[in-house]
Every structure is written in C-alpha cells, then in structure tokens.
C-alpha cells in the first residue's frame, strides 16, 4: 500500500485458520475417547446395553454427534470467513476482514490532500476503537464466566458423587474420568483469557479461539451428563429390584 502502511494479504484467512488450533486438542481427546468405547456386539457391550434404556449403539451415536459440535462450530467460522464476502454473497473471499457484527474498522488511509501534504498517512478513530475494546472486554468476561459455570457444574457433580459413593461410583468409569479431567484442563486453559483481553485485534483472535475451547468444555459436561444418565438407569433398576424382593 505504502512504505508506511503494509497490507497483509490473506491475513483474515490466517486469522481464522489459526483459530482452529484447539481442534488439535479435540482430535487428541476424540482418539482417547475411542479407547473406552466398547463395541455394542461384544459380551461387555451386551451387558452394558442391559443397564441402559436404549441400545448401546445409540449411545455411541450420541457421543459422536456431541463430539462433532465443536468441530462444526469451528469449521463454520472458517467457512464464513473464506466463502462469504462482506455483503453476504457466496464467493471465495479470504482476504477481506470478517469480524463480528458491530466491530468497526477504525483506521482509514482515505485522507484529505492537504493533510497528506503535511505528512499524514492515515486517520485513526478513537471513539470507534473504544467501542471495539468494550466489545472485546465484554466477550472476554462472558467467556470467563461461562468457563466457570461449566466447571462449577462438574464440581457439583463431584460433590454429589462423593456423598453417594456407596450407591454408584462414577469415578471408576474411565470414560467419565477422561471427560472430567479434560473438562478441568479446558477450564484452566479458559482462565488465561483475562490476561490477554486488552490487545485490540489480537485479543479478538483470543476471544474467538477461546470460544472454541468453551464449546469443547460444554461438550465434555454434556458427555459426563450422558454417561451419568446411563448410571442412573442402573441405579433405579437396582432400587426397583430391591423393592420387589421386599
């Protein structure tokens, strides 16, 4: 553009593509989950099926669909950044910025001739910048709170299970334990957002990337809930059979 302001071609694509980095963690988590998935036709699988209100195969399908949620959300963001232009038309457009609605472009190189002669190379609108910063800080605080609420939910589940260990101990289930450990790991990762929320466009990258981590954390809680539901069914069955024997 000029020797004072350099245009970064495809920066938007890189901006959005690098936001997908948390997916590497998610793929690793998916591979770990597979270790604890018991084939529905195996002996153990058939035994587990009897404790569920529906066939084990459907439980596997549910786990897979839940696992897909963060993948879908992340790829959707990249698709909109790459194939949708500023007017909303479908076209290959990886260069123009695709920022959240309401996020202003605060710098312009369209300057008056007399200002250019005085050595001005751009105008910078600070009111616009202030609003952008407000938006980023708001997003960051909202993300931080959501990470907390999700992990607080897990904490309450753990407290409940501690009180009911003699009835059903989910801590012996490796599938649930993997989910809890990974959710808490994501919860710790989520907290660092408050240290990186005051750097303007670069903070926007942080909030958007951490939003993907949050969706993964939410799915972990969903998977824990799903696994506990299968336990509750067994618990009720045991209780029911005990009542019958009386």
């Amino acid at each position: 553009m000029s020797k004072y302001i350099k245009t970064l071609n495809y920066a938007d694509f890189v901006f959005n593509l690098t936001m997908l980095l948390p997916l590497l963690l998610w793929l690793w988590f998916g591979s770990q989950l597979l270790k604890y998935i018991v084939p529905s036709s195996s002996k153990v699988g058939i035994r587990i099926s009897k404790t569920l209100s529906f066939p084990l195969f459907y439980l596997h399908m549910l786990v897979f669909f839940l696992w897909l949620i963060p993948v879908y959300i992340s790829l959707r963001g990249l698709y909109y950044a790459t194939f949708i232009d500023n007017k909303g038309s479908v076209t290959f457009d990886p260069a123009s910025p695709s920022l959240p609605p309401g996020f202003g472009y605060c710098m312009t190189t369209k300057i008056k001739k007399e200002d250019a002669e005085k050595g001005v190379v751009a105008y910078f609108d600070y009111k616009c910048e202030k609003q952008n910063e407000k938006l980023i800080l708001g997003e960051s605080t909202a993300l931080l709170n959501r990470f907390y609420y999700v992990n607080y939910g897990i904490f309450l589940i753990i407290l409940l299970v501690y009180n009911a260990l003699n009835k059903f101990n989910i801590f012996n289930n490796k599938f649930i334990m993997l989910n809890i450990d990974f959710a808490l790991f994501l919860g710790v990762l989520g907290c660092i957002i408050s240290a990186f929320d005051q750097f303007y466009y670069r903070s926007l990258w942080f909030t958007s990337t951490w939003a993907h981590l949050l969706s993964m954390n939410c799915v972990c809680l969903m998977l824990i809930g799903l696994a506990i539901m299968s336990y509750s069914r067994r618990y009720h069955l045991e209780k029911w059979s005990m009542n019958l024997s009386k």
């Binding site: 004072y4 123009s96 910025p97 472009y105 710098m107 190189t109 001005v120 202030k130 992990n151 904490f155």
Partner: protein, 267 residues
C-alpha cells in the same frame, strides 16, 4: 550491559517506515498498552520466572513429587505465554484494518503523543492522526508542534485529577477493573485446579501428592498476590502494577497447567 539492551530496537522490523500517532487531549481513549516497557524490565521478568520455577522445584524439592512431563509442559507453556504477552504489550497497535481498502494492515508506530498546541493539524475529540516520523521529528525540531507522550500526559493528569475527567478510560478505576477481571480469572483457576485435586484424592494419594504443590502455588500466586492492594503514585506506576499482576497470573497459570495435566501422564 544497559547499552547492549538499549541498542536493540524492537520496532525495526518488516521494513515498514516508522510513523507516530497524534491525538488530542480531549481524546478519552484507552492508552495503557501504548506505554512501552523498557527492555531491561522485560528481560528481568523472564529471569524472575525461571528463578521462581527453580525455587519451587529445587528449593522446595517438589521435583521429587511432580510428574516430569507435566512440569516441563507447565514451565514451557508459561514461558511461551510470557513471551507472547511481552510481544503483544509492546506491539499491540501495529495490527489494524484499513476501512478504505477493507484489508488487514500493519504499521510501525513508534510512539503515541498528545498534541498540546494544535496549530498544524486539526484534531478533534475522536480522530487521531498517523503521521510520518521524519515529519514529526522535523516539526518538533522547528518548534511548530508542541506534544508530550501519552505516558507523561497521563502522569500529570493522574496527579491533578486521579487520571482524568469523567468518562476517561484511563482512570485508576479502569485499571482496577482489569485487576478485578484478573482476580476473577485467578479465583476460577484455583477453583478448577482444586476440583481436579479432589478427584485425584479419591483415586490415588500419590497422584494427589504430585499435583498439590503446583496447585497450591498457582492458588497463592493467582489469588493472594493479585489481591494485594496499594495506591499508585502516578499513571506509569499504575500500568506497571497492572503488567506485573498479569505476569504473576501467567506464572500461576503455568503451575496450574502442571497440576491439571498430571493425571494424563501419571503412571
């Protein structure tokens, strides 16, 4: 030693000619991240970080308890985050979007200045100017432009009116809001790590023993240190306190990371 550090110019990159920002005193925009740290203080942060880790590992002999992979991971992640924070704090104004071209752009802005005597440029409440550094230096030399850096301006204002007039983003209250968010993040961090410790305590006492020293250190740093409260005498000290607390928070995160990744590598 000092001259070695001072000769290093962090802005000399990408062959972009340097520019300077000019803003009006009426402008109430945020400015803390325009105050660049000295290279000495930036280097000192990393020495303290490494020294503190050595103290925790060898001084308190936690290396005997912790999982070596988790310890290496936690230390490396914290170090990389400190590097990232250092980069962002000292280069944050460089990345912008040009509304005219609708493209991401990069600038080599060396300082942000408040224009006290505005005869050359017509600045208003919201619009700032990006001008060539060579022109800025020339106007200053010819005494056609009276400016001071944003840091000096805020320092003066801080003493007079605790940071500025109503609506100013850079009052102490705005800085305390950042500390408040860090505090929130720190307490959430501690809460999450302690939940992981509760689970570990149920499974294996050895696992708990290898997590607890790091979890406790992260809690002490992220909650107790960030809660410390004192009044700063000027705006520069206020932003220095902010930066210091963020760096302590990153160190706390590195210990929390060590604790929370331990169950994945525990044998």
């Amino acid at each position: 030693m000092t001259s070695l550090f001072s000769s290093y110019n962090p802005y000399n990159y990408n062959n972009i000619e340097p520019t300077v920002m000019l803003i009006s005193p009426k402008n109430k925009s945020p400015s803390s991240f325009w105050i660049i740290e000295s290279v000495e203080s930036r280097a000192l942060t990393f020495f303290i970080y490494i020294g503190f880790w050595i103290f925790i590992l060898y001084g308190l002999e936690t290396y005997k308890l912790g999982q070596s992979i988790s310890v290496k991971l936690g230390f490396s992640v914290g170090f990389l985050l400190l590097l990232l924070y250092d980069f962002l704090y000292n280069y944050a104004t460089q990345l912008t979007i040009d509304a005219q071209e609708q493209k991401f752009t990069e600038m080599n802005t060396t300082s942000t200045n408040i224009v006290l005597d505005d005869k050359v440029f017509k600045l208003n409440k919201t619009r700032g100017l990006v001008i060539k550094k060579s022109i800025f230096d020339k106007l200053k030399k010819e005494k056609k432009l009276n400016t001071i850096t944003v840091q000096q301006y805020r320092d003066n204002l801080y003493i007079k009116s605790l940071g500025g007039i109503d609506g100013d983003e850079e009052t102490p209250l705005a800085a305390y809001a950042l500390s408040g968010r860090l505090m929130l993040g720190g307490s959430y961090l501690f809460f999450t790590v302690m939940t992981a410790c509760i689970i570990a305590s149920h499974h294996n006492k050895k696992l708990l023993a290898s997590m607890l020293p790091f979890a406790t250190t992260s809690g002490v740093l992220s909650v107790a240190f960030i809660s410390l409260w004192w009044m700063d005498r000027d705006y520069t000290s206020l932003t220095t306190t902010e930066k210091m607390k963020v760096k302590i928070f990153i160190a706390a995160f590195s210990f929390a990371f060590t604790a929370v990744t331990t169950p994945f590598f525990f044998v």
